[in-house]
């Protein structure tokens, strides 16, 4: 399938690599191997002392919790990040790529978790992007031959129906995922790589059953001539597809073995089991919920990402929603807040909500902290105090606003939740991530909030600021505020929540109560998530 090229297979690496004189005669040498690879961010090691290898014809499954270091590891291999220590060897040469482009030139291709296609360009342009020089004639791209080449590739992979001249954005997400996969092959062919190393970062997360099956068959057809690293949250899939499985936990390789000899249970066991620091999550301050029901959700569904979700949050209670990416947990949070249309009933304090929108929610003292702080968490044109005060302007529901009063309220809030800022009139952009997040909280709190919906409230926040946010959350529950907590961080969910609702594929699969003296383990949750 891949075009045979004449001449030596590796002449062009001589410029980069030193030859490691290891001659292995018994087994084929691994296409990719790493030894003692470490990546530190400040004092924190995202990947630590990982040694792995993948041979031609082999599929290596890589698994681990969110934050275990899977993506970082793939970044190191694909040249988008640099190892702090350790060596990476590709085809027997030390690989020290400075960009993904360079890695691709050397036969390392990656299908990114979040689509890395340019939606406004056509399929063929995406297939060959960054490598157009192969179709160039006197500096002008020979569109026709590139399009013909792209069509050949599509046809060869039984996707001839994809019109390579159409824009990528006109195809649904799953098709785009396939296109991205084809790009890895198209490029490996274009760059005359006979044995590509292909990194698949959760390629199945957004695919439906048939597409997953197709992807599987595709991997089968190419596995003989390539080395594949496959990351997935779906354990069964991972075990079925891989020859070997490696488990990462907190950046370290905690185990690897033949897929045949492993079971889902044994993988669970290896993946989790981080020590949970009870002081860190302020578990001693967990409250018994009060009698008033702040939120009751019944049969919530949006016909797309979740269905039949029931929830209940009482006074002073923290209800966590756990689930992997694509489980629908974030969408449930947004739908409850009214930021996403959904059917089903939502009651706050017994009152049935007939119209749901962020505006109506805000009036009922419900606030939402979005997961992407930088994108929609705050107003980057405003000062710290204006960012906070706008919350009370919305809530007070009066026509007049007095800047002085608003600023005083904001200043009090800055003191109360200890926002570290150069002054209340400093730009919010001058704050650290943790303090920006506290400003987002402050805006919600300036409305005398009754129910708070949090989506990954400590994402991208350092440990010190996390603790302050946990303190704040506990303070709020002391006042009787109910909290619906959506989080990717299982320990955070377990540590903070009174009850955890576990979701999988858009449905609630379990409700685990988590009293202070009998917190569930990560394993218990994960077995319902994957």
């Amino acid at each position: 399938m891949f075009r045979k090229t004449a001449g030596s297979a590796f002449p062009r690496w001589s410029r980069w690599g030193r030859t490691r004189g290891e001659a292995v005669t018994t087994a084929p040498p691994p296409l990719l191997s790493m030894e003692g690879v470490t990546r530190r961010f400040g004092g924190f090691a995202a990947v630590e002392d990982v040694s792995l290898s993948v041979s031609k014809g082999e599929v290596l499954g890589l698994i681990g919790e969110n934050g275990a270091g899977k993506s970082t590891l793939l970044n190191l291999i694909s040249g988008t990040d640099h190892a702090s220590a350790g060596t990476l060897t590709v085809r027997g040469r030390v690989a020290d790529y400075t960009s993904y482009h360079e890695a691709a030139t050397h036969g390392v291709f990656r299908v990114f978790q979040e689509l890395a296609l340019l939606p406004n360009l056509s399929v063929w342009e995406n297939l060959f992007i960054g490598h157009e020089e192969h179709f160039q004639r006197f500096g002008i791209i020979d569109r026709r031959s590139a399009i013909i080449r792209a069509r050949e590739i599509m046809e060869r992979f039984d996707h001839g129906w994809i019109d390579v001249e159409r824009r990528v954005e006109s195809y649904p997400f799953a098709v785009c995922q396939m296109i991205e996969l084809f790009r890895a092959f198209a490029l490996s062919e274009l760059l005359e790589q006979e044995d590509p190393i292909i990194l698949l970062d959760e390629p199945t997360a957004a695919l439906d059953h048939d597409e997953v099956e197709y992807l599987r068959s595709m991997i089968e057809t190419i596995r003989d001539r390539s080395a594949i690293i496959f990351v997935s949250h779906r354990l069964a899939e991972l075990l079925e597809w891989s020859d070997r499985v490696a488990v990462l936990k907190d950046g370290r390789l905690v185990g690897q073995g033949d897929a045949d000899s492993l079971s889902e249970e044994s993988l669970h066991y290896l993946m989790v089991g981080r020590e949970r620091d009870q002081v860190f999550y302020r578990e001693g301050r967990q409250r018994e919920p009060g009698p008033t029901e702040l939120l009751r959700v019944e049969g919530l569904g949006d016909g797309e990402s979740f269905e039949g979700v029931d929830l209940r949050v009482r006074e002073g209670e923290i209800v966590g929603i756990a689930g992997v990416l694509g489980s629908g947990k974030s969408e449930v949070g947004r739908a409850v807040f009214g930021d996403r249309p959904a059917t089903g009933t939502v009651r706050t304090r017994g009152e049935l909500l007939t119209r749901r929108s962020p505006r109506h929610s805000a009036r009922l003292r419900v606030a939402y902290v979005p997961p992407e702080r930088k994108v929609d968490g705050f107003f980057d044109t405003m000062t710290v105090s204006d960012n906070i005060a706008i919350g009370s302007v919305v809530a007070r529901n009066r026509g007049w606003v007095f800047p002085r009063t608003a600023q005083r309220v904001a200043r009090r809030m800055i003191d109360r939740i200890r926002i570290k800022t150069g002054g209340d009139t400093a730009s919010i952009l001058s704050l650290s991530g943790g303090n920006q997040q506290k400003v987002v909280f402050a805006r919600c709190l300036s409305t005398d909030v009754k129910l708070l919906i949090l989506d990954n409230p400590t994402r991208g926040v350092d440990a010190g600021a996390k603790e302050e946010i946990y303190d704040l959350i506990r303070d709020l529950t002391d006042e009787g505020v109910g909290i619906l907590l959506v989080s990717d961080d299982l320990l955070e969910l377990i540590g903070l929540s009174n009850e955890i609702v576990v979701m999988k594929g858009g449905r609630v699969t379990a409700r685990v109560s988590a009293p202070t003296d009998a917190k569930p383990t990560e394993q218990e949750l994960i077995s319902r998530m994957v």
Binding site: F337, D339, P358, R359, S361, A362, R363, Y368, P370, V375, D376, G377, F378, F379, D380, T381, M382, D386, A389, I390, G391, V393, V394, R396, R398, G399, W400, V401, F402, P403, A406, R416, I417, R418, K420, T421, G422, G423, T425, A426, S427, L429, S430, L431, S432, G434, N435, R443, L445, D462, A463, G464, A465, E467, E468, D471, L472, D475, D478, E479
Partner: protein
């Protein structure tokens, strides 16, 4: 709420340094410069023209400048409000023309009161059309108001057959013409509207929402701000102000003429941007726009007095607008402001 209690080890573990005071001060100094720059340009212009022409710095001429800047100021106020939300209104000039024609026709047949009421009302209707298409049909403001730019002007031409319609003496001209204590009445009206818009932007919920919507529409929505309604209001306001400006211009020129509003459009946008209101929304404000309006009015007046070649005048206005924006614009965002 009780103060969050921090365990000692937590406090000790805080690694991130608070924002250093030097950084904060540098930021503040720069903000002051952005506010001061148009003022500096203004002072330079005044000094320059005073030297170039003995007539420039006389009470009569200063009043003249006030009067000539009144219409531009009112239009700039509407443009400021629209631009604060990150939208743009390209139709204000045509709305002015249309409103002026309707008012002039009404003044002939139905009397003064009808004319005075109809001008802002026509503006309001035009603004409602723009606003409804932008907020509820979710079309880009640039496109919708570009359509308005042609359509309202065309409508005015249709009404008038392309002929100017004069304003009879007395009536409207009397009520709005003349001066009070030496200050032209139309300037007083412009100042009155300025005060209203400044108060609205600073001291009302609507005003705060303008900045929020312009700052980040999505965050505004998540905070519970009725983003679409605010956008509708903004275009209504812009329309009404264009209608009011039509009345003032009608009084100044004593007639409605084809295309009378068109030259104001880009001058108003230029004045607002020069004043420091960002085209992408969220920063600036009506007070800022005063500076921009004055710079343009003084430049136009001074260059005539200083006998600058009329073609060169346009070149100079162009250069000053770009230079002033280059001086005043906050370039905090990495991307190129479109």
């Amino acid at each position: 709420m009780t103060k969050p209690s921090l365990d000692p080890p937590v406090a000790a573990r805080r690694t991130e340094p608070a924002v250093s005071p030097t950084r904060g001060q540098a930021g503040r100094a720069r903000v002051n410069w952005y506010v001061a720059a148009p003022f500096v340009v203004l002072v330079l212009l005044i000094v320059g023209f005073s030297i170039a022409s003995p007539i420039f710095f006389t009470p009569d001429n200063l009043l003249n400048i006030m009067q000539s800047s009144a219409v531009l100021l009112v239009l700039a106020l509407g443009t400021t409000v629209v631009m604060l939300t990150g939208s743009i209104d390209l139709s204000i000039g045509s709305v002015l023309t249309l409103s002026a024609y309707v008012a002039a026709i009404a003044a002939q047949s139905a009397g003064t009161t009808a004319a005075v009421l109809l001008a802002p009302l026509v503006g309001l209707v035009c603004g409602a059309l723009n606003g409804a298409l932008i907020s509820y049909a979710r079309l880009p403001s640039f496109l919708v108001t570009l359509g308005g730019y042609f359509a309202f002007d065309g409508l005015a031409g249709y009404l008038s057959d392309g002929q100017p319609i004069g304003l009879a003496y007395g009536g409207v001209a009397e009520g709005f013409g003349g001066s009070v204590g030496g200050v032209p009445v139309i300037s007083l009206w412009a100042i009155g509207l300025l005060v209203l818009v400044v108060i609205a932007a600073r001291y009302t919920r609507f005003g705060r929402y303008l900045y929020a919507v312009g700052g980040n529409e999505r965050t505004a929505r998540l905070t519970g701000i009725p983003v679409r309604r605010i956008k509708l209001y903004v275009f209504l306001l812009s329309g009404v102000l264009a209608g009011a400006a039509a009345l003032l211009q009608l009084v100044r020129t004593a007639s409605a003429s084809p295309g009378m509003g068109e030259p104001f459009l880009l001058l108003a946008i230029g004045a607002v941007v020069m004043g420091g209101t960002s085209l992408s929304g969220g920063s600036g404000g009506p007070v800022h726009s005063i500076m921009g309006v004055l710079v343009i009015a003084i430049l136009a007046n001074g260059m005539v007095l200083a006998n600058v070649n009329p073609y060169a005048q346009n070149v100079i206005i162009g250069v000053v607008v770009v230079a002033a924006v280059a001086l005043t614009m906050k370039r905090t965002r990495d991307s190129i402001v479109k």
